[in-house]
Symmetry: C2
Subunit: 255 residues, 2 copies
């Protein structure tokens, strides 16, 4: 039987990245799309509670049932699973291809990865794909090559459902990329620099900018793999418990 | 030397929960506040990238330097650390007291916990407090009692900085609560039910609702502790790597 693949992203349904991913996904099964109607980068796991969500059919993709959604990336997955494709089995969710890195700590801010995580909570195997190139006209050829390989592997995987992979692809050609590395999340973080400015009416504002700092490229980390021309694949989970600290702070129970 | 404590939340600077937390924090040191100017529940780790952020002094708290911020809870912490209190050492960040549970899977959607996590990334010990009562006029007496105990313990803690605690308090009186349990994140999730409606101009909309399902109350989980009248404390981390799956999928490296 044909496989059903849900595609979403956080750069918006009009982005080149999602069109590139749909192209690949279509070679593996029936593709359905629910994606934000505008860019939603940095939305993390945000959901829309205080206002309604709108969805509208989107007809720009050939032979693909697609909807654009006014909500966040996570809203898109919830709408797909609870409303739009409620009675259909989804075999795989792919999110992206993101314009820009979601390696290391970027995962916690990433709408792309949060959407994939949300699908994994419904016990759907899920993959978030990100290319290390922020350009809106980025070249997704190598990303498509590796997306095809990983989608095939994931569709063939027969273990527990709800696996979640964070896949990042270096900004290189297919020939330059050395292969796939299974990795752990690398240590890094953003060094913020807020641009201070004044609006036309004299009101002060701050605009968030910054640079990503690699704190330590451990050889088993995604940051190391990407620096060394590999596609990085980090299996992720939603249990945030810090088990070491749980043991260490056991005495906090004593009042 | 006096300790400096940063207070934030996601229900907004006007909420009863943050006023209750400030009251407690003030008994332990100098309190500074940066909190959203409006409710920001369900914002997860969202950050504001495509538009500017505004901050304004907020003078309703006695003897406390406070700012209200147009951004998300995570934006508030970034503004505090990178702009407003850039040159000051912050000894502890406390977030909340949230109106409603952030136990179990709620942590990934929670602005309260994401703000505390953001502070922990700056190597500031951080605690998110949540009361299992969504009412805007909830009674925070017991929460304040336990917040005082845990703030004291955390300020006295001398291990590695950047610890993060997810604290949930049952909707009970101080006398009814049996004590503190150190826990792992319980297994649960939301069962969405979207309310479908029509706006005054005939446009369809969906509004997210749902109920939280406890999938299995493991005796060491926060869900179990809360059901059994304990305050639950879950130490959390931002490394999302699923190390078991990393081993299991090692063959994904073979192309």
């Amino acid at each position: 039987m044909s496989k059903k693949i849900l595609v979403t992203n956080d750069d918006g349904i009009d982005s080149k990245g999602i069109a590139s991913l749909i192209e690949v996904a279509k070679t593996f099964g029936d593709v359905v799309v629910v994606a934000p109607d505008k860019p939603q980068s940095g939305q993390g796991h945000a959901i829309t509670l205080v206002e309604p969500i709108r969805v509208e059919a989107y007809t720009h993709f050939n032979n693909v049932t697609a909807y654009k959604c006014s909500g966040t990336p996570v809203d898109c997955v919830k709408m797909a699973k609870s409303v739009l494709f409620k009675n259909e089995k989804i075999d795989l969710c792919v999110s992206g291809i993101n314009h820009g890195s979601n390696a290391s700590l970027n995962i916690i801010y990433s709408g792309t990865m949060s959407a994939a995580m949300e699908a994994s909570l419904y016990k759907i195997n899920s993959i978030g794909f990100s290319l290390l190139d922020y350009a809106s006209d980025a070249n997704f050829k190598a990303s498509q090559h590796y997306a095809a390989i990983l989608i095939k592997k994931m569709l063939a995987y027969e273990g527990n459902a709800g696996k979640l992979l964070n896949v990042n692809i270096p900004k290189l050609t297919t020939e330059e990329i050395k292969g796939i590395k299974m990795c752990k999340q690398g240590k890094g973080g953003w060094l913020e620099q807020f641009q201070k400015g004044e609006d036309p009416r004299g009101g002060a504002y701050y605009w968030m900018g910054g640079t990503f700092e690699n704190h330590h490229s451990h050889p088993e980390s995604d940051l190391w793999a990407l620096e060394h021309s590999y596609v990085s694949v980090v299996p992720c989970q939603h249990d945030l418990t810090d088990y070491l600290t749980l043991k260490e702070l056991n005495h906090f129970e004593n009042i």
